[in-house]
Amino acid sequence: MHMLEFQNVVFQYDSEDFNIIDGLSFGLDRGEFVSVIGPSGCGKSTIFRLVNQLLPRKSGDILVDGERIDGRRGYCGYMPQRDLLFPWRTVAGNLCLPMEIRGGLSRAEMAQRAEETLASVGLAGWGDKRPDELSGGMRQRAAFARTLLTGSELLLLDEPFSALDFLTRINLQEWLLAQWEREHKTVLFITHDVEEAIFLSGRVLVVEETPIRRLVSFDVPASYPRTRECLTHPDMLALREKLIGLLRREVSA
């Protein structure tokens, strides 16, 4: 059974006269780390917004853990591009947000979980700070911790590192892999950075055309755990060139 499955999903924006997602089907297995790449504006974020029901699909079905998503909540954790930490809450207070909304936990329990999760993302002791006291990379880690605390098995990460400087970005990529290997979550990761996609994922899904009718899947020829050296392996370089070629063809078309 797939962790996430699209079955003939169709979606159209009110402002457009065509279906930007047109009969799309694909699936993610439990525990996979899969990236979706494609040029800006190709509709990859639309796929995310369909999964977390911020957009209503026209037809077709989306299944998470074998069940239709309609009417369900809390089945996926969404991490947006910007950290969106609320400046009026402490870091720990921000982490408590998804738990407060889901309900069922006492204040003390929430505080304890927030503290544990902060420690697990390397921010032990930072809970009482205000978000603007954190660096960009730390804010992004706090946002990831907040996503983990939704308690969902399926994580949707929407270009979470794109606004960071290069060194912070590659550090966080390695950090994210370590988190994933420990937490055993299923991750769907959007990026426009081919190298980032190859380094992180077991599979890369490429948006070849808009409207999106299919996603072309490429297996990444490397095993986990990984280090950045694996990017210099000839198979990896070949895949990288192939993907870049695909994207360039699309942009020039």
């Binding site: 911020l54 969404y78 969106l84 400046p87 009026w88 909304i101 889901r102």
Partner: protein, 249 residues
């Protein structure tokens, strides 16, 4: 650092006061142009009636008017935020109403409510209620769409989005609105009293005018300004304690 930043302005004010003093002394017609020192002296002479009778009357009127304005303004802002229909119906009206010279309507209220406190309160409310509603409503709208979306993915409903995001996001706007409304409410009260009252600083100022007491006209005005500045300073102080994140949203 901040004191230094204000220094040029303070020096300029001091120069203006000196010029005023010199001009008033040269003119020597206190019933038209009293000098700053004459005004301060008169303020001291009149301290009894000013501080025990007229200042409390004006403050009461300002306080009631401001309280009503805050409650009404907040209610309206919440209503417009909750219902797009209400927004479409009310927002243009509120914006258009800003162009009505409310103070020109004040004589009507005196006609309707007489010399009671309510004619003054009504002027105050009409002047301050609209800016509060608009500013706080803009505060609700300042909550970013992607933050709203993120809360939705957590499973938040409208009530949670309002309490956890919109309310705190609007707090800095609320303080701005209050700071703007304080001087306006004092102006409203003074105008109301000027037109018809039995007590209050506006009433007192007008009575001094009929007696051709120039310094007596100015003294309550100085007092009004001082009260407004003090009230805004207090609100700013509270704001600093409460809103520690201004500008970082």
């Amino acid at each position: 650092m901040r004191k230094n930043a204000n220094l040029p302005a303070l020096i300029f004010v001091f120069i203006l006061l000196v010029l005023w003093q010199a001009g008033a002394m040269g003119m020597d017609a206190a019933y038209i142009l009293p000098s700053p020192t004459q005004i301060l002296a008169r303020l001291w002479e009149l301290r009894g009636p000013l501080f025990t009778a007229h200042l409390p009357a004006t403050l009461l009127c300002t306080g009631i008017g401001l309280a009503i304005s805050v409650v009404l303004g907040l209610l309206l802002a919440v209503l417009m935020d909750a219902s797009p229909a209400a927004e479409k119906m009310l927002y243009p009206l509120i914006v258009a109403s800003q162009t009505i010279p409310t103070t020109a309507l004040a004589p009507l209220f005196v006609l309707w409510f007489g010399y009671t406190i309510w004619s003054k309160v009504l002027v105050t409310v009409l002047i301050t209620f609209f800016p509060i509603a608009i500013t706080v409503f803009d505060g609700f709208r300042s909550a970013k769409t992607d933050m709203v979306d993120m809360l939705k993915t957590f499973g938040a409903g409208r009530k949670e989005i309002f309490c956890k995001l919109k309310l705190p996001a609007a707090l800095p706007y609320f303080f701005s609105a209050i700071k703007m409304a304080i001087p306006m409410s004092i102006i409203g009260a003074a105008i109301g009293e000027w037109l018809g009252a039995q007590a209050g600083l506006g009433y007192f100022s007008r009575r001094m005018m009929t007696q051709l007491d120039g310094a007596g006209v100015f003294a309550p005005i100085v007092l009004l300004s001082a009260v407004a500045m003090l009230a805004v300073a207090i609100v700013s102080w509270i704001e600093k304690k409460v809103v520690t994140w201004r500008g970082s949203l």
